[in-house]
Amino acid sequence: MILEPIYPKVLSVRRIHGAHPAVLEAYGADPARHNSLGLITCDQDDPTFVALDEATKRAPVDVVFARSFYAGADHSSGRLSGEILGVLAASDPDEIEEGLKAAVRTLEHDACFYSADASGSIAVFPHVIGSLGHYLAAEAGLQPGDAMAYLVAPPIEATIALDTALKSADVRVAKIFTPPTETNYAAAWLTGDLHACRAAAEAFARAVVEVGHDPIEEACC
């Protein structure tokens, strides 16, 4: 039983309309442009980054804050904390509402981790984004509309799978996150045309599964 979806759980969705300027500033918003905030916590950080980016495509919102929590959802500070807090900012409540809707829809129907071994103790996120929003585009140093493979796995799996992915598809590196990240995973953002991104994600997922099957390799010579 492999590559079963592990659906993210949205733990909280809240709004702050007419946020205090100090709060706006502290969380990276611009009091001159932003008035309302939309907050979301979830037990999977990477799908949430993708979901927040999706929000920027569906509504005139900015992702002003998105940070993962240390050691992941299993060690969170409370039942609502999960492993990420994402904050959308916009000029008025309606935009926030549309942005949150898009983010939650993405978490419920699109972006999720998959189990990479039978016991479900290895998770992989071989996500293909057809068209980047302005949030992830800026984070990755790419253009909105570019395709990107958003690849995450535990450290050893991710390291080997990244090498495989880069060798299997005509993609280039936008950014590599070596372990440990806040959640103790490793990740990579690869870009190219959509088919290349898809091929890279597939190679990545396949390699993660393979490492799980054969973690202690026999010396070859």
Binding site: L3, P5, E108, D110, I129, G130, L194, E202, A205, R206
Partner: protein, 303 residues
């Protein structure tokens, strides 16, 4: 729906997993939009309809949902076009002469300059000044001056009627009236120089007024006692909206003569002029409330 899900589905099979991916969560259903978003019912309150009957102004025009009714918008555009056309119209060459009037012109040389340079429209050019000195009767009581102003359409429309009626009213009162004349490219203050040149006690310029919606044919009359260059608007008395749907020329001529009489008697004009003695004979008091007005329909409206 999800690019990643499609990819994972294929990879599962490639890796020997026979079961399909679990069904994705059902997406929320989105209500289809209503067939008609905006109402198409024309609405107008009874009060608005009643109020609108008393004016040609754009009040009480009703609404269709959040917009104006189409016929209201078309009517507005048509009326605006009438106003634009009136501003753009020019008194044809020889119009004054054909109507037996002394033909004068301000220092303005063309219509474009006329709109941009009110100062030039307030003074006579050399030729007109010479013509005036040569041909006009001097030392008179009242000097009426017909002029194009901002609507040559109005001047050509009811200008002659007003001029003749006013002249007649003045003569009936035993005053001497100056040579009939018409000025081209004229502003109100042109009456000062004309009146001064002919030595009139009262000058009265009758000119096309700035067109409003649907009224490109309105005349105004400005009257001043002892016209001299340098008189201000505070020295003048005026009457506006002289047209078929406002104050009719014959009625206007009578009222103007009453005001002129007051000027001759009190030897002043403008804010200093005391009209309290004749207020029951001029203005609204004379005719009572205007009868209900009907907007002239410039476009055909559907049901």
């Amino acid at each position: 729906m999800s690019l990643t899900r499609d990819m994972v589905e294929g990879l599962r099979i490639a890796l020997g997993e026979s079961r399909p991916l679990p069904e994705p969560l059902a997406a929320e259903t989105i209500e289809p939009p209503p067939k008609r978003v905006f109402p198409n019912q024309y609405q107008r309150g009874a009060y608005a309809a009643k109020a609108a009957a008393h004016t040609t102004a754009l009040v009480g025009i009703g609404n269709v949902g959040t917009r104006y009714a189409t016929n209201v918008v078309l009517q507005f555009q048509a009326e605006l076009a009438v106003a634009h056309a009136a501003v753009a119209a020019e008194l044809p060459d020889g119009w004054a002469t054909e109507n037996g009037l002394l033909s004068l012109k301000s220092r303005v040389t063309d219509h474009h300059e006329y709109l941009l340079r009110p100062d030039l429209g307030r003074r006579l050019d050399e030729e007109s000044l010479a013509l005036l000195r040569e041909n006009a009767t001097t030392g008179i009581d009242v000097q009426p001056i017909l002029a194009d102003g901002l609507s040559a359409v109005a001047c050509m429309g009811s200008g002659m009627e007003l001029l003749e009626a006013f002249t007649k009213e003045c003569r009936q009162r035993g005053w001497s009236v100056g040579t009939p004349m018409a000025a081209r490219y004229a502003r109100v203050w042109l009456e000062d120089e004309v009146g001064e040149t002919v030595g009139a006690r009262v000058a009265c310029i009758l000119l096309g007024e700035r067109p409003g919606l649907g009224t490109g044919d309105g005349l105004s009359a400005y009257m001043v006692y002892e016209p001299r260059i340098g008189k201000t608007d505070g020295d003048r008395n005026m009457m506006s909206n002289i047209h078929a749907r406002g104050t009719r020329p014959a009625q206007a001529a009578e009222r103007l003569a009453l005001v002129a009489g007051a000027m001759l008697e009190q030897r002043t004009s403008g804010v200093d002029l005391d009209l309290s003695g004749i207020q029951d004979r001029i203005g609204d008091a004379a005719g009572g409330l205007r009868e209900p007005q009907v907007r002239e329909q410039l476009v055909e409206s559907g049901p």
